[in-house]
Symmetry: C2
Subunit: 612 residues, 2 copies
């Protein structure tokens, strides 16, 4: 298999040339620890690591997979080694956890983390979950909880999980049946229930695993508002921080999955022997039986949902880079326009070019979108200017479903295209494309399915705070268009962008009218929601990469004719043009569809879907 | 895992209610052996077989996979059993081979074969290749060849392969390096070379394997026109039909593939010990070094290419039926329009409906298109009316690339959607969706990549015989629109179809102008070819399912209110409407794209595609 290769240049462009990183590095939380001068060093170091250690572990991890025996899970050795290396050497959770003194800006952390996700998606999930669990404890735990758990979670000794899903409660988390029974100690509950699809739920990566478990306390209200959050260590942690007894958490099974074979997706039974203790996070249920467990979990969700989209991007990008390199190496066929000439590398063939160009455009536009999301989150979390922080928080919340879902859905199409570029060998496991195809599909389901995010967009994000944040988001789009509509050389592109922006306005008005005509129009809201999301995402992605292209054009003017950067800048402009001309018109088509409001899918009799 | 279920009702509709099967069953070749009364019986029998024997073998086959050891390949036992059962009992090659007295109409054979492909794609490939090899011998071999090989190939004792691809000659078959050296016997050559991606190239299914090998005879011209075709038995067949010595064909490796794990994809070395004999098919090279090997192979290609699209259809259909059934069984979430109600099966959710409806529309439209293809082939091959036969041959040739490519490309998107309907469990191997995703991807590469077919369409099929067949094909579309434009209740659908038809005319004119302005416009031809193919396919698929909907509407009027067929007919009309409103507008968008003739993908510097 070819060595790992990744477009670190585009990440450097984002941080060094495009985003306003001065603002980010200038924030008090980061000022003393990081600056623009760290960007290239960090990216280069991680790239080296990815090539030498992480990507080889990825291949071994896929072939070996996790092994489940007698309740224990063995993770492939390369993954274990890489996990420990990253966590112990400060390349993992320590840089992302709010608990860490040297937390990085998300923009910076995520830039290098993208390379690691691309090099080994299964490995990154273990780290991601540990960070998420640690951040929950940091934000909502007591000082004592922080002291007991955080250090070991950030230094690689322990790992963490998030336990939401149950066999009977997937997308509908509120139906969770896991219970929490009070004990004499008001902060300690006995946990009883079964959780499934728990990434890293049982492994031999670390000596202990800290599970963050949603469960319904006795007297808790039904539905999601009755759920509390509990810290449930696999091995009990004594008051002095030492390890105590095993805590009655049993791994019943691990899933046999299509991909991510080195990631242990566990089914866990809590309290089989009535002896599983959990530490309550936050307050006990109030008089109405309400707990804030799910709300606390969701507090971490913007980042991890953008992170899931980012993960999808990293995988499709890696599949694309591998395919592009193969296309320059594989000699096959003669040029269409001069069939008498010799055989050429397949990248010379127009259709291969088209496929690579589409992948490049999608990858770079989505990456631009993702990093704007992280940028907003950095400002929202750390800016002293509360108004600006609030505005950025709103923008990040709007972007979250767009990034998560558009990236995950697009990734499936793009990895399929990467296989296509390879031809027959792409279907074999000798080349990396097929593993990316198998690994990436879960991301449209993880952290909320595409539909859940679409409803989050049309039902919540478009309407929150009286619709103000979304109106502000639309204002930003119009402002961009107004500012650049006469940008030299980008006239046709800006015209298309403006049309797409008007389409999204049309869609927004249609949706407003649905909400104004409930219940008659009610079913149209979910029926077209995923398509609304696609339109908003493509509009924003197109603008983002056009904005990058404007920077690239300026840089190009100042770059010597023989400088290697020229190809990068020209490629950036080409990617922007391709996105706007070749992908964005989808928004116009969908707008017509939404306006037509065809309800055939709902009117079709249910039995007509079933094979007989 | 759930039992196998398949929409046999739609297949019965096609043969009993839609296609003019009277014409087909009335053909002399079939008249005495088959009639309309056989349709339901055959489909029902095969459906039972698929449930009881074939689908269980599919699952075992995926889990076990083929095993390669010391040059031998072990095929999973269930597949071996099923292969022999089908071939020995006349459910396999015997029904499709021209050599067979009781050959079935393709329309009938393919209808039941679709169920088998859906139940076990890996198994079907072995049969398909055997049929293909047998048909080559039947058509181009000598009487002696036929006597020696055909009986045992059709009764399951021997199997067959097609050996085209080499490590250095994939899409570009003409670069094949395998050689054929003459011997004293003018019909016997010594074969030397390596072939790869040979489905069924080595197995323990049968006691002998008959390889049909493309090789370049000494003195053969370079490129594809220099290739000859040779019958190369794994074990030599003596003149009396008994088995002789092993024929120096060695299996070097089998591919580790993303899917189709029970299908042995072999790399074969011919003549490692200079002792591999092949029997020449057809004439030796003429004075200019030209042989008709590839032309003979291609003669079989229309059917096997439509067959490949059909295979993709069968797999996406199966994935859809499984997902639809799961959606009626899985209870999760509450209705959007009455959140206070109880939990409902997920098929009640609007977005699940949308996904199922899209799958249903694609599946039924593609199936309609596929069977029109087989219908044309039946007439072309067997009609005594030479003019009609010729016309149908032309239509089948135009449909071939459309069906092959549109079905294979759509399948990847649709199996992804099937996984999405399942949610998290769809990503596990406990449910069948993920296997279909892994199995189906090869079909956009097999039998010519999507691009090869797109070029076949724009470069050959649109232009052959002075463009007459394609013009005739377009006339058929217009005639349909003219005839039905006022069909009651289908006004908006017919209007959209007409617009799509006009779009394809626009595209055809644009392409004509490219050919009129060579070489300047040359690179645009391949650049947009795959998109041209998509437009033609969506136009034809839309018309086909609309035509079915018109029949369904009539039938509906004559069906009692409580008859179970009502749901089928209503579903058919819904699928047609959804296809026309929700999928067909893509043609309008692509037409705009093609008219814009953006060349960004070609102008982008090559280095800009490469990660650094």
């Amino acid at each position: 298999m070819a060595d790992f290769a990744y477009d670190v240049r585009d990440l450097k462009f984002i941080l060094n040339e495009w985003l306003d990183m001065e603002e980010v590095f200038g924030l008090e939380r980061f000022r003393d620890n990081y600056g623009p001068e760290d960007v290239d060093f960090i990216l280069n170091e991680v790239y080296k690591l990815a090539k030498e250690m992480i990507f080889p572990a990825n291949r071994e991890g896929d072939q070996t997979g996790v092994k489940f025996e007698n309740g224990s899970v063995r993770v492939p050795q390369g993954i274990v080694k890489a996990y420990r290396f990253l966590q112990e050497n400060g390349w993992g959770s320590a840089n992302e956890s709010l608990a860490s003194d040297t937390i990085m800006p998300l923009t910076l952390y995520r830039a290098y983390n993208e390379i690691l996700m691309a090099a080994c998606p299964a490995l990154s999930s273990y780290i991601k979950l540990t960070t998420g669990a640690a951040n929950l404890i940091y934000r909502f735990g007591t000082d004592r909880d922080r002291e007991k758990f955080l250090e070991n979670m950030l230094n690689g000794k322990w790992s963490g999980t998030m336990c939401l899903t149950e066999p009977n409660a997937g997308s509908d988390v509120g139906d969770a049946a896991t219970r929490a029974y009070p004990t004499e100690d008001p902060r300690i509950y006995k946990i009883k229930g079964t959780k499934m699809f728990i990434t890293g739920g049982e492994t031999d990566l670390t000596e202990n695993i800290i599970h963050m478990v949603l469960a319904r306390p006795e007297g808790g209200a039904p539905g999601s508002k009755g759920l509390g959050l509990y810290i449930v260590p696999k091995i009990w942690v004594n008051e002095d921080g030492s390890l105590g007894e095993p805590n009655d958490v049993t791994c019943i099974a691990v899933e046999h999955k299509m991909g991510l074979k080195a990631s242990a997706t566990a089914m866990l039974s809590f309290g089989e022997n009535d002896n599983c203790r959990g530490i309550l996070v936050g307050d006990p249920p109030d008089a109405s039986g309400t707990s804030r467990g799910l709300a606390m979990m969701f507090h971490m969700m913007n980042e991890s949902r953008i992170g899931t989209g980012h993960n999808a991007l990293a995988q499709m990008a890696a599949a694309y880079y591998f395919a592009a390199r193969y296309a320059t190496e594989r000699v096959q066929g003669r040029p269409f326009t001069s069939p008498g000439a010799g055989r050429v590398p397949i990248i010379k063939h127009e259709d291969i070019r088209r496929m690579l160009m589409e992948m490049k455009a999608q990858v770079e536009a989505i990456r631009a979108m993702v990093f704007r999301g992280f940028y907003y989150l950095d400002i929202a979390e750390h800016s002293p200017d509360k108004e600006r922080a609030g505005r950025c928080q709103g923008l990040a919340e709007i972007l979250t479903p767009l990034i998560k879902t558009y990236a995950a859905e697009t990734a499936w199409a793009m990895v399929g295209q990467a296989i296509q570029v390879y031809g027959g060998v792409g279907y074999t496991e000798e080349y990396p494309a097929s593993q990316y195809a198998r690994d990436v599909k879960i991301l449209s389901i993880w952290e909320g399915t595409s539909f859940i995010h679409a409803m989050d967009l049309v039902g919540r994000k478009m309407r929150m705070t009286g619709g103000k944040p979304f109106a502000g988001w639309m204002e930003d789009r119009k402002e961009f268009i107004e500012k650049h509509k006469n940008a030299e050389g980008f006239g046709p592109e800006m015209a298309r962008l403006e049309k797409a922006c008007q389409c999204v306005e049309v869609i927004k008005n249609i949706y407003d009218s649905y909400y104004a005509h409930l219940p008659e129009k009610g079913r149209l809201i979910p029926l077209y929601a995923t398509r609304v999301l696609t339109c908003c995402a493509q509009l924003f992605a197109a603008e983002s990469i056009l904005d990058q292209a404007l920077v690239a054009r300026q840089k190009l003017a100042a770059t010597a004719p023989d400088h290697p950067d020229r190809a990068f800048y020209e490629g950036k402009i080409a990617a922007a043009r391709y996105f706007v001309h070749g992908i964005l018109p989808n928004v116009y088509m969908i707008t017509d569809l939404i306006a037509a409001a065809d309800e055939t899918a709902l009117e079709c009799p249910e039995e007509a879907f079933l094979a007989v």
